[in-house]
Each structure stands twice: as C-alpha cells, then as structure tokens.
C-alpha cells in the first residue's frame, strides 16, 4: 500500500509519506500545513469553516485536455491527501518572478481594494483563479467568484472595480510560462490506490468502485468523503479524530457526467459547480439552487454524493432534486439499486443506504414540456448562508390550466426534507386561482411544526412556508 502523496508547491515536488510523517496526519488541513511553513503565512485563518475565504488557495490540476484547470478553494477544509497529483498555489506565488505584481494584485493596489489586508490574500487567490478561467468580467461573474471572500473594511466596491479592471484584458502570466513543466511533473505523479495509516487513523484513496466497496466492507464505520467540505468541519471545529476515511477523489467512475435524450446522469463525486454548469439548460431550478449554494470555493469541493449522504434537514439539493423526480443510484458488492430521492432521505440525517452500500450517482429525468419547476431559498443573507427554509415546487398544468400535478418539497421545516402532502392533495385538480392558493396557505402552515434556532423562529418558518406557495404562483403569473 502506498502512503506517500506528491504535489507541487513553490514549483517543487513535495512528498509527504504519512507512514513516516510525525507532524502532519492525513486529516491535517492544507491551511494548517501551510501556516506551519515559515514562508506561507500569507494564507490566513479567519474562521476555519469555509465561511470567510481568508484561507483561499488555488489548486491547479490536469484538465484532461493537456492543460491545467485552476480552482480557488478554502484551504481550511481540505485534507492534505487531496493535494495528491495537484499544484498548490498560494498568495506568495502570485507576483511575477521579477518582483513586480501580477495584474490582479496590481489592480487591487491601484483601486484601493485592501484596507486591513487580512482578507486580501484570499481575494487575490479568488481573483487569480478567475483570471485563469475563461469566464467574462461581468459583475455577476465577479460577485459569484468573490462571494466566498468576506471583507469587513472596504464595502467591496473597490474590490469589484479592481476585479473588473484586472480581468478585462487577460494576457498570459508567469504561470502560463511554466505550465508545460508543471504538467510534466504532475503527469509523473501516479494516481494509485493509497492507504495512509497512522496509529490512530486510516485514510484510504481507492481508484475503483470495486475497491471502494471492498474497503467499505472491511471498514464498515469508515466515512466516505469526496470534497469533505462538511465532514472537514468535524476536524476543524469539533477537533474530532475521524478514525477511518475513504476518499473517492481518484475514482473515475464517480466523476462521470452523461447526458442522454431524456435524462442526465451525474456520478456522486461531481461537484456542485459542475452540476451547476451542466444543469443550466434543462434544469434551471437546479442551477438556481446551486447558485445560492455556499460559495464558489465551497461548490468547487462539495459534491452531489456528499450533499445527499449528509441528509441534512435543511437539504440544499434534495428538495429540488425531488421536484425533478431524481433517482439515486446506489451500489454494493451485491449489485445496484435505484431509490427515488425523496425515499432516499428517510429521517434526521438518515438515508436508506443499507450496510455496504454507497451512492454511485443520480439520474435526473428531463421534465416534460409544460412542467414548471422552481426552487426558493430563504436565508438571513442571500448568499453563502445556510437555508432557513428552502422549497421546490413542481407543477404540471392541464389544458384548462388546472393543477394536474403538484409537488411541494420543503427543507428546514421538519427533521428532514419533506413533501407538503396535505397541501399537494388539496391543490391537485383545483384551478389555479388566487382563492385556491389562499385556501391552501393555512393548510400548508398547519402541516409543519418547525423549530426555532440560531437562524430564525418557528413562527418565521411557518409564515415563510405558506408565503413561498404564494410566491411560486405569483411568479407563474409573470411567465
């Protein structure tokens, strides 16, 4: 078994062999690793939970087309083994070799985008990843790329101006010049089955589903991760030692996206960013749900499998996936089975996965023409905030504009994401009038007993739930 990871930092190949390493464990975060080095203190810890972006780094990896793909991610939520085969870029690497500033840095200076400077390295990294992408320099793109970076001083206006300027004319930079060299080194780092074990912890990185299922059978308590954007919090906030982890990063079968005539299939390791891109055309409500999911940094790591597997009562994806009648494909050594997503989630943080089963992917049918699906999220802050309440609606009107079929699924209203069964029943077959909706609202309010917590009161949740029904039908009137 191989226990040594290899990655590039400061243009050099770094190897960490966890069987010999004393200082770092497989669940040491990249942030803590970097801050332990004398020359990477520019990477800051602001919250250790992926909410502030001060620790943002860029990971570049082979894009499968002989090039590199640059992604800005939160180093506070990334375990070291995830660097295997990748190029780790920090704020210290951004300036030009002659000491002059990179265009994103120069723009931040010229537009007065830094005040206290503590968030600045993170902003630079997010802007740098954007610089290396082919996305346009529109305000929407910039805001989306920088939502995961909090600044308490500037009010963001000068940062937006700096980004707009830096991104308007993107010339090859010093990273472009060494890409070939880097690619050559990265290609030499073999992706192979790995097991990193310390006396207190096992961290597996299998390369196939078969191997994954075997390891899972041998280690039934092992936690399966991919992005680990949620699981990492147990390490960074609760200081848990997770004894056994299986990381699916290297399993190609789980990274598959297949579009056929009537459905879309996504492997469980597909990130929310990838899902967002691929759903733009057929599944606008999924696109909408993804666009308000965490930040771009989080979406780069968070996966479909992780979001389903965690079975959170707030459930970012499950309501909208249920509205699209998505199936979850699960496999075990015994074979595969298909579970509708609203049966897959079966209780507070509980899934219907049986022992030895793992989430392989999801299958989203293309809705029939005329079916209307919408997603709503209500949170204290619109972006990078966990839902107080989320809702997905599916409506199929019949020819007389009556409600032929309606599905209403809420997150944040119960111990799990749940259909508003009584309301659905009441509305089915009725005509789409204001009166009908107003009659349905108290029914909806009745059928849930939400809780009060740090995010909101129960009363607020109840009001929101019934209002979202009205909001949905009001939005339909516009279309």
């Amino acid at each position: 078994m191989n226990s040594c990871i290899g990655f590039i930092l400061d243009e050099k190949l770094i190897e960490i062999d966890f069987s010999k390493e004393r200082k770092f464990t497989p669940t040491t975060t990249v942030l803590n690793y970097l801050r332990d080095l004398p020359n990477h203190k520019g990477v800051k810890e602001g919250c250790a939970e992926g909410d502030c972006g001060a620790c943002t780094i860029v990971i570049a990896e082979l894009d499968g087309r002989n090039g590199l793909q640059y992604r800005a991610v939160n180093s506070c939520l990334i375990f070291l083994p995830k660097l295997h085969g990748k190029w780790l870029i920090t704020v210290e690497n951004i300036k030009n070799p002659d000491g002059s500033l990179h265009p994103v840095q120069q723009a931040m200076v010229d537009y007065h985008g830094s005040q206290c400077g503590f968030c600045t390295p993170g902003f630079i990294m997010s802007m740098f990843a954007l610089y290396k992408s082919n996305l346009p320099n529109t305000r929407a793109v910039i805001e989306d790329a920088l939502t995961g970076n909090l600044c308490r001083c500037t009010g963001y206006q000068p940062i937006i101006e700096a980004a707009e300027f830096a991104l308007q004319d993107r010339k090859p930079d010093h990273f472009s010049k060494i890409e070939k060299e880097i690619i050559a080194i990265l290609k030499k780092i073999v992706l192979k089955s790995m097991q990193m074990a310390t006396d207190r912890q096992k961290y597996f990185m299998p390369v196939s589903v078969t191997e994954l299922l075997y390891i899972k059978n041998q280690n039934p308590d092992a936690i399966i991760i991919n992005g680990a954007s949620d699981i990492a919090l147990r390490v960074t906030k609760k200081y848990e030692l997770i004894p056994s982890i299986i990381d699916t990063m290297q399993i190609e079968e789980l990274h598959v996206i297949r579009k056929s005539i009537d459905h879309l299939y996504c492997g469980s390791a597909i990130t929310l960013n990838q899902l967002m891109e691929v759903s733009r055309e057929w599944y606008p409500a999924i696109y909408e749900a993804c666009s308000v999911f965490g930040s771009k940094q989080i979406r780069e790591m968070a996966t479909i499998g992780g979001n389903l597997g965690t079975a959170s009562p707030i459930g970012d994806l499950p309501p909208v996936l249920a509205a699209y009648k998505t199936d979850v494909v699960v496999v075990s050594e015994k074979g595969a089975r298909i579970i509708p997503v609203d049966e897959f989630i079966c209780g507070y943080r509980k899934t219907s996965l049986k022992k030895g089963e793992i989430i392989k992917g999801i299958k989203i049918p293309k809705p029939m023409d005329g079916t209307i699906i919408k997603f709503y999220k209500v949170s204290k802050r619109k972006d990078l905030d966990i839902s107080t309440v989320s809702a997905a609606f599916r409506l199929t009107p019949d020819k007389e504009k009556k409600i032929n079929e309606i599905k209403i699924i809420f997150g944040g209203m119960a111990e799990m994401t749940k259909h508003a069964v009584k309301t659905e029943k009441f509305l089915k077959g009725k005509s789409r009038t204001r009166e009908t909706i107003e009659q349905a609202m108290p029914i909806l309010e009745e059928e849930f007993t939400p809780i009060s917590d740090a995010r909101s009161s129960a009363q607020f949740r109840s009001v929101i739930a019934k209002n979202l029904l009205l909001r949905f039908f009001d939005d339909l009137a516009d279309t």
Partner: protein
C-alpha cells in the same frame, strides 16, 4: 499633498507579505496559550482539579487567579473586571484558567482534563431582566435643555414608543491575538493586536505586578479592529503575559473565531423609550429619550459609549426642548464594548425613528421633515448640551444630494411601482449624519510623536496611533512628506511602540489622524525650526547683500529654499548632513492637545467636540413582501471630510462604514438561548454583508471645497460617521414595508431588521389592513 496614494501596506497585503501578530516568526521555544472559560452565565466555582492537566506531556503551565503575581484586574476605566475568575463566574466566556503547551492540540487535550464543578445560579440575560431586578451598572445620567414636560403638554401632535437595537459582533477578520516574550529581569515584550498599546502596557504591567517601564508593547498592524480591540485586546495580551511569566518562554494566544465571538463584547444592545411632540409642519418641539444600554458583566467603556449616545440623540436636528436619560444595565454577558460609532448609532437610530414616524403621521415626505428640522446656521443652532453647531453644511448637502440622487422623481417612480405591484415593494429614504469629533473624556484628546531624520535624508516617523486598515499610517506619511517638503518614499512609518511614544490614547473616536497628525507636525515644526537658522547661515555664507531671512525658508520638492531668493536652495539630504555636522539634534518629539474642548458632566453642558462631521445618504431598496428578502438598488452618499488628506482612503472609509452599518441594521443578529449561550458564534450563523449585499448602484462622493478650520491640513476625521449613513437603507426597508398598507399604518421595526423582523412586521400590517 499627493492624493489617492495607495495604502502604505497595499503591496504587502496583496502579496501576503504583511505580517500580523499570528504570522510572526518566533523561536522554537514559543508556546501556545489557551483560555479555559466559563460555560455558565452565572455560577459559583465549587471545585476544580488542575493536576492531571498539568501532568500531561507538553503542558508547561496551567494557572489560576492565585498565580497572578500582580493585580487580578483588567478593567480599563473602572477596576471591575477580573483577569481570571475567582470563586464565581459572571458570564459565559469569562476566563477561569490559562494553559500553556507545546501545541494547540495539547492545549485542547489539557483543557479536557481540567475538571471544574460549577453551581449555576440565576442569570440576568437581557436589559428587561436587568431593569426588573434594578441591576444598574452605575448612576443614571441626564442631559436636558428647555422645559420638556411643559412643552410636551402643549404639543398638538405627540408620539411615543420604544426601539430596540441589537448587539453587533465586530467580526474583524483577524481574531484577537498577542505574543509575549519575557526578557531580562522583569521585562516583557508584547506584540499585541491592540488599538491601545499604552493601555495594553498598563494592564500587562498591572497583572504582572511590574512597572510600566518594564513592558514594551509593539503593534505593527491589525487585521481590522472597529473598536473591538480598544479595550478587549488587553485581555489576550494580559493572559499571554501571565503564561509567558509563568513559563519563562514566549507565549502566543490567538483566539479561535468561535471563542472570540463567545468571549468578547459586542456593540451595546439598547432599549430606547421616547416621547416626542411636534407641530403641524413636522417641526420637533420636545423630545424625551430614555436610553437603556446592556453593559454586560463589567463597565468597560459603557459610560463613555452611553455619553456619546446621549450626545447624538439629536442627530442633525434642532430640538428646543430635549431630555435624555441614560442608564447602563449590568447583565451576565461578556462586557459590551466600543464599536465604530461608539453609541452614536444607537442614539441616532432613535431620533431617526421619530422623524420617520412624524412623516407617516403627517403624510408628508420624510426627507422634507428632516430638512425642516435641521440645525440652522444663525439660529436654532444650539445642541441640548449647549455646543453651537458651527460650519454647518446640512442644508447645502441636502440640496445637493436631493438633486444628484433625483430624489423627487424617484419618489414618484417608486409610488407608481408600488401601486402596480402587490408583493414587490420599493422603498427609499434620505438620512443625514452629524457626528461630533473628539473623545468626550476631554483629557484623552492628546497625542505624541517621535520623528527622526537620518543623515541620508530619510525620515522615520513614530506616533501613538495604530494601523488597523483605516490608512492612518498612509495619511501620517503624507502629512510628514508635505510638512518636510520631501517625497513620500523618503518617509517610513514604524510599528507603534510604547517605548518610543509613551502615554498615548487609543486609536479611536475617529481621531487617529487629527491627533497624531498634529503631533507629527509639531515634531517636524521643531526640527525645521532647529534646522532653519543653519540653512540661513549657509545661504548667507557667501556674503550676499540681500540676506536670507528665517521667515522666507521653505521646505519643498526635496529641497530647502529661500522663497525670496529662489536661486538659493539646498538639497534636503545635504542640508540634513550639514546640520548633523553643525551638531543640530535631528530627532524630535511632538505633542498635540485639542484646544478649547470641555464638558461638565454634572451640568450636562459644554463643548465636548472640536467640530462636527456631516454626511447624507439616499438609499433605495426592493423588497419581496412574501419572503422579507430585500436588495439595495441604489445608494447615493455625499460625505464631508473637510479637505481630504487622501480621497481614496476617505472613500474607503465611507463605503466600508456604510456597508458595516447596513450589516448592523439588517443581517447581523446575535441571539442567546435561555441559559445565555450565544447562538451565533461563527460566520455560519452570524452574517456580515457579502459582496452580493452591496448596492447595485453605489454612488459615493466627498464634499469638496469645505476646508475644516484648525485641524491638520484642514481635514476632517472619517472613521465612524459614515457608519450611520446606513440608516438610509434601514428606513428605506421600512418605507417599503409601509407601502403594503399605503403608508397609513406605522410598521413595527427594529435593528437589526432581519428578514424575520421584516416579514413578521409585514404580516402584522396585512392583518391590521384586513380588519
């Protein structure tokens, strides 16, 4: 003066080279410190066992209050805040024990091994509970003018009500941090992320029981502070110092985000009751305010903050009969503390609520009501504490922003939009700011500086102010460059250091540049007056008939010239070298005290402020009345900074202050459970504005051609006043809510107006409307 110079550390910020306390490379003897704090809001400590933790390998010290060599005290003004709890704890987050160990991990393991038995008792967790128990922090305060009771009785129109304003977490990106390195004898070197190095020095000396000349505090830069590091940075420094003393090794404490949010104080929540009387035209005749502040478990700066709140209940309005009573209540929460605006926002929120209600009651535009009540130039210009409002720009700014924001046209557009849309409503509001500049404790208005000129003509400037991102060092560098007539690059600012400039005040009250800039100028004036006679001699050496005169010597363009005989000039660096050879001292201290300010607390009268800053903003929002979600569509700001020392830096303060204010007014909410646990102790649930929360169209400008007499280079302070421009967004939201009932019913409203507050207010309006 060179405008729009980037922040002096901008290049270091963008390259990650800027060093913050946690980034310092300390030798490998550095230990990590951790605070074990109370999980109870109010409890007796019955027993505890430290030995198991002490014996854990890698643990170097576990200390308790008996181990404090000096005074167990860190209250900055009133000595009512223990450094480590004795036999009782008074809030969740209160420090009980300290651990020093090789790593954070070992600290955490050691903490788990400390067994403490508490006996919880009843806790006071809100202003209302404190009032019910009459748990005052100190005597109530009062400022009064006119005859309020008599005037109120006569008023035709009266309103009364109450307003609550919430706590606000500072959310500086860099959490509290300090490194302490023990030296020879009793010496302690402290690197602290503090706004007040002199007080940090005093508190460290106090807990260690040593003299202040044994303690040096150094502060290069903070990763944000906003008032949160004015007094409470002292705590982390004191704890680190105690551990460094106990172990004889360097010790660093950097609070984890959640610990920082749980342990440190916030902006004071206020409960404000008011009664106001006004005439048919909406002119204020009499107002009575009762301010109740949640002080938390110790005094900290609560009374100074209360005082500023009381000074700002008039905001920009002349109120002939005004009484304001202020009380600070003691609760079992961490001691609330300074936060940008320092009570000003709470006081001003109350009067802005009153003015807004008057407009709704009289069915008039609120901006017009505001205009009618502005302080006058020649009359109606005396505040309730008897200070005359001088150099008043309110009406001029009102006219300008009304025009530039197209307020009247947009008001019509909004009315039209609202009449056509059932569930989406727009709202708009124009609000002014008048903010007094100076520490209201008059003696604090002093500053010192040390300026060294070296033989190569480079200059090192040190002053008592600290850099927290606000650009103070950049402005000071510009001031020094302008006063010495040399280029910006020749001047270097050093870290703030208590051994270079002693007995300084906090960098607070927006006064950093006003005070320290003047002190630096004073030092430079001394140096110039020492150099000039030698320059004159040098110019006159050749026996010219027309002699060079002292009065004609100017420092300009890296030279020293005789302005009456411009051919006579000498390069600055050469002149410096010449002065050195002539044995002229090239190092000078500078000092400044703000003239003519005083305040008599017993009478509630005086001139507490050197001058006022004015600002005005118009914000427009779009509200979804079904979800409470709103977006700021456009904000126009016109702000007064006198002659700007650096328009880019000033603009940064204006925009940043406004957005921080929007956060306090909308999404930033602190909630506690029934046991006193803070529920929003991380950015997961505590939501400061993100990049998507700023106005879609954000138009800021600085008022030009209004030099401020008698300040450094005719500038004005800028740090705090823009914060309160956010009331325009807050009241725009209220205006949009109000539109649901055609502005006929007064909506319930408070700070923060979270979407929950907004939605429940809307629901109430709808149900009243139905009846």
């Amino acid at each position: 003066m060179t405008p729009k110079i980037p922040h002096e550390s901008a290049r270091k910020h963008v390259t990650g080279e800027a060093v913050y306390v946690d980034d310092m490379l300390v030798n490998n003897q550095l230990l990590i410190g951790k605070v074990v704090y109370s999980p109870h809001a109010h409890a007796k400590i019955k027993s505890f066992h430290l030995d198991v933790a002490r014996n854990l390998p890698g643990v170097y010290a576990v200390i308790r209050y008996q181990d404090i060599p000096g005074e167990n005290q860190m209250g900055p003004v009133v000595h009512d805040e223990l450094c480590l709890a004795k036999d009782e704890v008074n809030c969740i987050g209160q420090a009980v024990f300290l651990i020093a160990a090789e790593s954070e991990e070992i600290c955490r393991e050691a903490e788990k091994l400390i067994k403490i038995e508490y006996k919880p008792s009843e806790a006071i967790l809100s202003i209302e509970q404190a009032i019910a128990k009459n748990n005052l922090m100190g005597p109530e305060r009062k400022i009064e003018t006119g005859d309020v009771d008599k005037a109120l009785k006569k008023c035709k129109h009266k309103i009364s009500g109450s307003l609550t304003t919430g706590a606000q977490e500072h959310w500086y990106l860099e959490t509290q941090a300090a490194v302490c390195i023990p030296g020879e004898d009793n010496e302690m070197k402290v690197y602290s992320s503090t706004q007040h190095p002199s007080e940090t020095q005093a508190i460290v000396a106090g807990v260690l029981g040593i003299n202040r000349n044994d303690v040096v505090v150094e502060m290069r830069r903070m990763g944000g502070a906003f008032g949160g590091k004015e007094t409470q940075a002292n705590h982390v420094a004191a704890w680190s110092a105690l551990l460094a003393k106990a172990t004889g090794q360097p010790v660093k404490i950097r609070l984890f985000r959640d610990d920082d949010q749980i342990m440190t104080g916030k902006r004071h929540p206020y409960l404000i009751n008011y009664k106001a009387g006004f005439d048919n035209k909406g002119k204020l005749i009499a107002v009575e305010f009762e301010l109740n502040a949640n002080g938390g478990m110790a005094t900290d700066l609560s009374f100074a903050i209360l005082e500023r709140a009381m000074f700002h209940v008039d905001n920009a309005y002349y109120i002939p009969n005004l009484r304001v009573i202020g009380r600070v209540w003691k609760t079992n929460q961490p001691s609330n503390t300074a936060f940008r605006g320092f009570g000003g926002p709470q006081g001003m929120a109350a009067i802005e609520t009153i003015v807004d209600r008057i407009a709704r009651q009289l069915k008039m535009d609120a901006a017009e009501i505001r205009r009618r009540n502005f302080y006058g130039i020649n009359d109606r210009n005396l505040t309730h504490y008897d200070q005359k409002v001088e150099n008043n720009h309110l009406k001029m700014m009102f006219d300008r922003i009304l025009h530039s924001s197209e307020y009247l046209k947009r008001r019509q557009d909004i009315n039209e939009f609202n009449s056509k849309n059932e569930f989406k409503k727009k709202g708009m509001s124009l609000t002014p700011v008048k903010f007094g500049i100076s520490f209201t404790t008059s003696f604090l208005n002093q500053a010192g500086a040390l300026v060294n000129i070296y033989q190569d003509g480079t200059v090192l400037v040190n002053h008592g102010g600290t850099e927290m991102g606000q650009g103070l060092h950049t402005k000071i560098q510009q001031i020094a460059a302008a006063e010495l007539g040399i280029s910006f690059e020749k001047i270097k600012l050093t870290a703030t250091d208590t051994s270079k400039v002693p007995n300084t005040s906090a960098t607070a009250a927006s006064s950093g540049t006003d005070l320290n800039g003047m002190a630096v100028k004073n030092a430079i004036d001394k140096l110039k007056s020492r150099m000039i006679p030698f320059i004159v001699d040098h110019f006159n050496e050749k026996g010219e008939i027309i002699k060079s005169q002292i009065r004609a010597i100017h420092f300009i363009n890296d030279c020293i010239i005789d302005s009456e005989n411009p051919a006579r000039k000498i390069d600055f660096a050469k002149a410096v070298n010449m002065c050195y050879i002539k044995q002229v001292p090239l190092s000078a201290t500078g000092f400044y005290r703000t003239p003519d300010i005083y305040f008599n607390r017993e009478k509630g009268k005086g001139k507490p402020f050197h001058y006022y800053v004015f600002g005005m903003a118009v914000s427009e929002v779009l509200l979804d009345t079904l979800t409470g979600y709103h977006k700021i569509l456009r904000t126009d700001i016109l702000h007064d900074v006198g002659d700007s020392l650096n328009p880019a830096i000033d603009m940064g303060q204006v925009q940043g202050g406004y957005i921080q204010g929007v956060g306090w007014c909308t999404t930033e909410e602190c909630k506690w459970d029934e046991k006193g646990n803070l529920l929003n102790h991380s950015p997961d649930t505590y939501k400061i504005p993100s990049i998507q929360d700023i106005p879609e169209d954000f138009r800021c400008s600085l008022l030009e051609d209004v030099p401020n007499p008698s300040t450094i280079r005719k500038s004005k302070a800028v740090g705090e006043p823009p914060f309160m421009l956010a009331f325009s967004a807050w009241l725009a939201v209220k205006d949009a809510i109000s539109a649901v009932a055609d502005h006929q019913i007064e909506p319930e409203f408070s700070i923060p107006a979270t979407n929950e507050v907004i939605l429940l207010s809307l629901e109430k309006l709808r149900s009243i409307k139905k009846q």
